[in-house]
Subunit: 327 residues, 2 copies
């Protein structure tokens, strides 16, 4: 069941078989048909590694995440999965366990077995990212570095909306619950928050930073309560969800005593108690778009896209974790 067998069976050269199978226009309709029939007959299955060795193309793209455990990535996984399959690529999953070192190390090791990679929220310093991009086609998500194509979800713009929402409900003391300090998204969100509050002549406060994960919600909730704020915007839904449980434990009413808004709108945000007001991010779409961007650069026949970075809008989904300020 190699192309040599097919060649023998049909009496043509292996090169012809190869062409009939992978570049059908290169052979005449008659032989092509004959060869394809034989292939079907012998139920031939191509050998990807051999193909990769000879052609340099592996037909595989990796999705690199910092922690598969984070529900935020579930959406990304879905999105990339869909689009990669559609484009005929295999989907490799790499977990860097929150370590930048591991990130470059794994990527370096797998470089030759990948056609490209999608970095979901890379922790790499900008220069390392650029260096890596020179080695292997990359698209980043939620991480904008000059020279590396990327798709970013415009949560910062959404944050302005969220602040607007809270202010309109009468809140004056709103605090930002900060995520990991090295996180690009976290910084962007905090900046946006500060700017938005300043437009209302309100002082921006923050608590944290806290490590990723729902467990951080406990400490975060306590910190927010301690800050005396009446509303807060959390770095992400995982934090917010964690806070909700903690607040419930402590008997703090949401939104009666404290309004909470999250970011991302991950699985669960709609059925938590109370359902979470959050910035809905088109995560899945981001994944799909990242793949499109990557695949179109991989396909050299396709026209290279002008814009190397796409920004996706976010919108505020008001549920029940935010409410008017009560005196």
């Amino acid at each position: 069941m190699t192309i040599a067998d097919i060649a023998a069976a049909t009496g043509v050269a292996v090169s012809t078989v190869s062409r009939a199978l992978s570049r059908p226009s290169r052979v005449s309709a008659a032989t092509r048909e004959r060869i394809q029939a034989a292939a079907r007959e012998l139920d031939y299955v191509p050998h990807p590694p051999a193909r990769a060795l000879a052609s340099g193309r592996t037909g595989t793209v990796a999705l690199v995440v910092s922690d598969v455990t984070n529900p935020f990535y579930f959406g990304m996984i879905r999105g990339t999965q869909q689009q990669l399959t559609a484009a005929g690529y295999a989907h490799l999953l790499i977990d860097t366990e929150d370590s930048a070192d591991r990130e470059v190390e794994m990527l370096r090791a797998m470089r030759r077995s990948l056609d490209g990679a999608i970095l979901g929220a890379s922790r790499l310093p900008a220069r390392a990212l650029v260096a890596l991009a020179a080695d292997i086609p990359l698209v980043t998500v939620n991480r904008n570095v000059r020279g590396v194509p990327s798709v970013v979800i415009d949560t910062p713009a959404g944050i302005a909306q969220a602040v607007e929402h809270l202010v309109s409900l009468g809140h004056r003391d709103v605090v930002y619950v900060s995520g990991p300090a090295q996180s690009w998204s976290n910084q962007a969100r905090w900046q946006a928050m500060r700017a938005a509050l300043e437009r209302h002549h309100l002082r921006a406060q923050r608590v944290g930073p806290f490590p990723p994960g729902r467990a951080s919600g406990t400490a975060a909730a306590d910190a927010v309560l301690n800050s005396g704020a009446t509303a807060c915007v959390a770095f992400n839904d995982l934090f917010a969800l964690g806070m909700l449980t903690r607040l419930r434990e402590r008997g703090v009413r949401v939104p009666g005593d404290l309004s909470v808004v999250g970011c991302d709108d991950i699985f669960g945000a709609d059925f938590s108690n109370p359902p979470l007001t959050t910035l809905t991010a088109p995560i899945e779409q981001a994944g799909r778009m990242a793949v499109s961007l990557l695949v179109s650069r991989l396909d050299h026949r396709a026209p290279q896209p002008q814009r190397r970075t796409a920004v996706l809008p976010t919108y505020l989904t008001v549920r029940e974790s935010t409410g008017p300020l009560t005196v």
Copy 2:
């Protein structure tokens, strides 16, 4: 940066380099050291496809799921990811989109680029599964077919506990919310439910089947309500969670008017409203174990394990969606 370069740099043959790198015991300490130093120096990175072509081993294992969207698989993905990385394998993700045809088709196509595969809840008929297993090392999860190693989560045993729990709360009319008809797990759960109820001389009812997905919760909730039951066990948490929202919409109190128990204990079951009583399944562990099983058969040097199938226990986690029968 191929082994030929290293060979040239150190003045030995490529075969020696190859051995120094992949079978270090086969060369003397002196040359090995010299070669490894040179490799580091030239920063050589092995070429996986070439290796795969020559050796037949790809160092890649696929996790095959019916729908990446299902949170049940999130746990599996985590588990397999961890263990595969630990064992030095790359992790390929395949989504069959609930189609058995697609399942065998994809697996056939990728066969040569995989060392093995883990089937999370395969939809394949038994004979097809066995045929496939002859072609490529397989381990199934929650699917027990003679001759194919597997790890199954013993939810059925847990169902007995759940029924016990409900009966002890006074419930006499408890209904099973059925999942996809072809699902092996669904059948096993229903059987277990029936048996458990019969032990209490109670009649087993069921509603459904419903297609996978949270959305089914709506129809399911209505059906359960219509059945007149005072308690139900849902095929999985996704259903149960969906039901919870629907019941809330309809103003039905849980557990006041209806007790609900789910299966699996997926992400979200603990912070839903009310938190869900469910059968906690060690999903992540199942993933890890499946990998262990697979990897140990791949490694021919390792002693082949006797037991080809592992069963993992499940336990009842009582939260707030179940309560005493109220007249």
